[in-house]
């Protein structure tokens, strides 16, 4: 049984005309066939050359013929299942479903000063537990909740993160790639009898380095789902225009899709849009800018046209604290993904950029996700909901609808009742000590931490997980990526919780 997620019951928002879509598509085909992409991977070049691409071995450049590109787009399934540790939490990506994931943050924050600092192992595991509890959060994406925790060497960050999510949560997981960590992630998934969705990440413009392509081969050959990431910075690694960065982003993600669909046709593939505008005067990333919302809406529309599920990766506010600014910046992203037919996006817990995350923020974001999800359900229009007989029976003033069976039956279904918001009247609010959403969220977070017990791994799964982790630790130590000092600190961190 798949976790339902949110379902959009009306047509999506279309901000591009048919002609606009055609222009972007044509631009993408032209760049793929004439300029091509750089793929630093001999085996990939062999595979693609055999499939009809033109390959230049000196520059590692591969030009892709339009017919092959269009054929590979058709090979990707428009909708696919992704199995979770708890089968009830499995997903059906694509179509008119929308799923939310947590927004990653490198560090946690101090809730009084809002300053970032690395999370401890306990904080990491607790944050996963909070995310496991929140029902509007449907799966875990890479680097969530934090990039790692104090004491973990960088090369083990992703694997320790995966382990925490498997131990303290039962939802579907996406894993990144770093120093070929995806190989161990796939081993963990196979040993535990679950699936992971892996990633293939471009280095814009138009470039894939060896580790990304290695990940593509490992995942496709293991039969895992693949998420392809383009992350252009508009004005730096992509044109400053929305249309131009759409073309270049599509070239990047579709070129890897061609590779994956050539390695193993039918591979479950998801395309990720993480376009980031930049303030070209200061060089600062323009987190929170509405250009991102326009970009994702257009990207989602084009990918719906192709029939490929999407992930909108830009859930990141420019504000450094949960305040008015961060709320509108997050809300814009969530509602535009929902309305424009995106399949999934990060939302919960991200505080600033990709740099900080907090479980308190995740609890607050649960209500944004709930509102967006309720919106997508739309409204019932039938004799009972139109209530014509009732309107006529009640008539003008002093008629009213209070106390009627129809009101009792329908009112809750038509609304979204938030968990952590101030919905009191003024007098009640004054009486409550002027509590705010942050106060309610803190209470809710503490209650979740005190009571939520995630679905445990079986003893065998726990042993298998730990065994692969130990293999990975040994591998990276042998490869010189974990020094003795780092290993000592790492072991201490592991023993801390």
């Amino acid at each position: 049984m798949a976790m339902k997620g949110f379902v959009r019951n009306f047509p999506p928002l279309n901000i591009l005309s048919e002609e606009d879509i055609e222009s972007v598509h044509r631009g993408m085909l032209r760049v793929l066939s004439t300029t091509g992409v750089r793929m630093e991977h001999k085996r990939a070049l062999d595979v693609l050359e055999a499939a009809g691409c033109k390959v230049n071995r000196d520059t590692n450049r591969v030009c892709m013929p339009p017919a092959l590109v269009e054929e590979c787009i058709r090979r990707a399934p428009s909708s696919f299942p992704l199995l979770a540790k708890d089968p009830a939490n499995s997903l059906m990506m694509g179509g008119n479903n929308l799923y939310f994931a947590p927004a990653p943050g490198q560090n946690t924050i101090d809730l009084d000063t809002f300053e970032p600092r690395p999370a401890t192992r306990k904080e990491y595991y607790d944050a996963v537990r909070v995310l496991d509890y929140i029902s509007t959060l449907h799966f875990f994406t890479t680097y969530t909740p934090y990039f790692g925790y104090a004491g973990v060497p960088p090369c083990m960050g992703m694997l320790e993160s995966l382990a925490a999510r498997l131990r303290n949560a039962s939802k579907a997981v996406v894993v990144g790639h770093s120093h070929n960590s995806e190989r161990f992630a796939v081993q963990i998934a196979q040993a535990l009898g679950i699936e992971v969705m892996g990633t293939v990440t471009a280095a814009p413009p138009l470039t894939y380095f060896e580790d990304a392509i290695d990940s593509a081969f490992t995942l496709a050959e293991a039969g895992m789902a693949v998420r392809i990431t383009g992350a252009p910075v508009m004005g730096a690694s992509a044109p400053a225009t929305l249309a131009g960065s759409l073309v270049s982003n599509l070239v990047e993600v579709i070129s890897a899709l061609v590779l994956v669909q050539t390695i193993k046709p039918g591979t479950r593939t998801m395309l990720l849009d993480f376009a980031m505008p930049m303030n070209m005067s200061t060089g600062a990333p323009a987190f929170g800018n509405v250009a991102v919302c326009i970009h994702i809406s257009a990207f989602n529309q084009i990918c719906r046209h192709y029939g490929i599920p999407t992930y909108n990766a830009d859930g990141y506010p420019g504000s450094k604290r949960p305040d008015y600014q961060s709320a509108y910046e997050k809300s814009f992203r969530a509602i535009f993904t929902g309305l424009s037919g995106g399949s999934s996006r990060p939302l919960h817990g991200g505080v600033y950029g990709e740099l900080s995350h907090s479980p308190l923020q995740a609890v607050l974001d649960d209500d944004i996700a709930g509102m967006v999800g309720r919106y997508l359900e739309g409204m019932d229009v039938n004799d009972e909901t139109m209530a014509l007989d009732l309107i006529e029976q009640v008539g003008p003033v002093p008629g009213h609808f209070l106390g009627l069976a129809h009101t009792r039956k329908w009112w809750k279904q038509e609304q979204y009742i938030p968990h952590s918001s101030d919905t009191l009247t003024y007098p009640e609010w004054l009486q409550s000590g002027k509590k705010s959403a942050v106060d309610y969220a803190r209470e809710r977070m503490e209650s979740i931490l005190a009571s939520h017990k995630p679905m445990p791994l079986t003893d065998k799964q726990e042993d298998d997980l730990e065994r692969v982790l130990e293999d990975a630790r040994a591998h990276y130590q042998k490869a010189g990526q974990i020094s003795s000092d780092e290993m000592t600190a790492y072991r201490a961190a592991l023993a801390s919780y």
């Binding site: 928002l13 005309s17 222009s23 631009g27 032209r30 000063t113 809002f114 413009p205 138009l206 508009m234 004005g235 730096a236 992509a238 044109p239 400053a240 225009t241 929305l242 249309a243 131009g244 759409l246 073309v247 930049m278 303030n279 070209m280 600062a284 323009a286 929170g288 509405v290 919302c293 420019g318 504000s319 305040d323 600014q325 961060s326 709320a327 809300s331 814009f332 535009f336 309305l339 919106y375 909901t385 139109m386 209530a387 014509l388 309107i391 006529e392 003008p396 003033v397 609808f401 209070l402 009101t407 039956k409 038509e414 609304q415 918001s421 101030d422 919905t423 009247t425 705010s436 959403a437």
Partner: protein, 502 residues
Amino acid sequence: MALNAYTRRFPALEILNEEQLEQIHQGMLRVLWTTGVHMEHRGALETLERNGCVVDYDDWRVRFPPGLVEECIRRCPSSFQVKTRDPSRSVTLGGNGLHVLPFPGHHTIDLDTYEPRVPTRKEFYDGVKVLDALPSVHGLWSYTPYFGFEGVPPSMCLLESMAGKIRNSGKFLTEGYSKGSEEFCIRMAQAVDAELCVPCLLSPPLTYYGDAIGAALHGADAGFPVRISEGAVYGGTAPASIAGALVSACANLVAPVVLLQVHKPGTRIFLHDFTFPQNMTTGAPGFGNIAIGLHAAAFNQIFRRYGIPIGNGAAVPASKRIDFQSGYERAINATIFALSGANFILMHGGVAAELTHHPLQAILDDDICGMLGRFLEGIDVSEDSLAVDLIEEVGPVPGHFLNKKHTRQWWKHEQNHPHAADKLTYPEWEKVGRKGCMDYAKERLEDILTNYAPPPLTASQEEEIERILEEARAYYKKEGLITSDEMAVYRQGMRSSRYPYE
């Protein structure tokens, strides 16, 4: 010349299918014909009867034949201009234009405690000045920024509010009515060569009292546009189901449309959806609830089909503070209003429900408007913006776009540029003392109050406004609506050497 509204350059969001639209239209026609509407205005009933409606004078009930309803809907202009005191700020309501207006609050708030209190005259006038200065405020709504100010007797609140807006702003105006105040408001607008949008406010379900109908007819007779406002509560004064609340809103709003279009065909009308749900367990109004966005999008879709300009008023938070909750409550519903084709939205400055307003909030909301406005413009897809030649010229890594003419030419256009948002990196943020959007908004507020001057009235316009106010004061005193004690306090507030501005 007219003020540039935001323009939506792609099809509006539609959440109903054709069949659902038809069902709701048919439901509205049925309610208007079989149940009808209570209108406590003899002249209106006589006019409607002459035009084919069935009238029951004993219980003020009027039933509207479907043919007449549809004919009157067709008579409404789908888009029209409204004249303003400052001609460069006139507005054209309708079509794919979006205007944003402030949201009223009964009181101002203390920014440290968030407790409400009555504003002073100066705070009221400063509040208007800030709204006039913000480019994303396209006009001024009734009861804005506050319901009145210290010392003003209730019967004079709307008139003092109107005067405050005329003196401190050249933008589009609509003002409420109470005890015949619309007549004085109309004269004030005429004195500055502006048009006033006179409201006609429903008392749901299906009821209009005499003052509402009187105000609408006065406005139409003066040749001014009329706005009809619906403020039903689902589960209280409308069905708890959104589809039922929609049928009821359509019947409520279209009844005076018929009256106005038979009274004076072609009258410029715009409709205002200010419905919201109720928590039926606690009785608290469901401000900030997503049901508002569902109702509004469907409402906008129905009236775009009818070709009558529309707007949504309920993007107002339930939170009592300016915080994370109020940010998402406002942003989500306002976005839905804008995408579904609203011609106006009430937004700036409203803090909690209709109870509090603050200019600092208005400054924060200016940035939400900037985002919405930029989104509505959509994407330019042209040879230049697609930049295929440039992508090919730059090629793979280590190619980049940083120093390209194309980047310099386009980057600003593609983004929104907030005034009061924290856009710094972490190290920069630490260096400036961890400033947040509230700090930036405070700085902008102080800057506007220090440096901005609204377009002034001429001396004769000032005199005429004060003369009309004096006439109204005398009228309401004579009517017994201002006691001598109230008048003494009221006059006390007019003794400043900088009266009327402080």
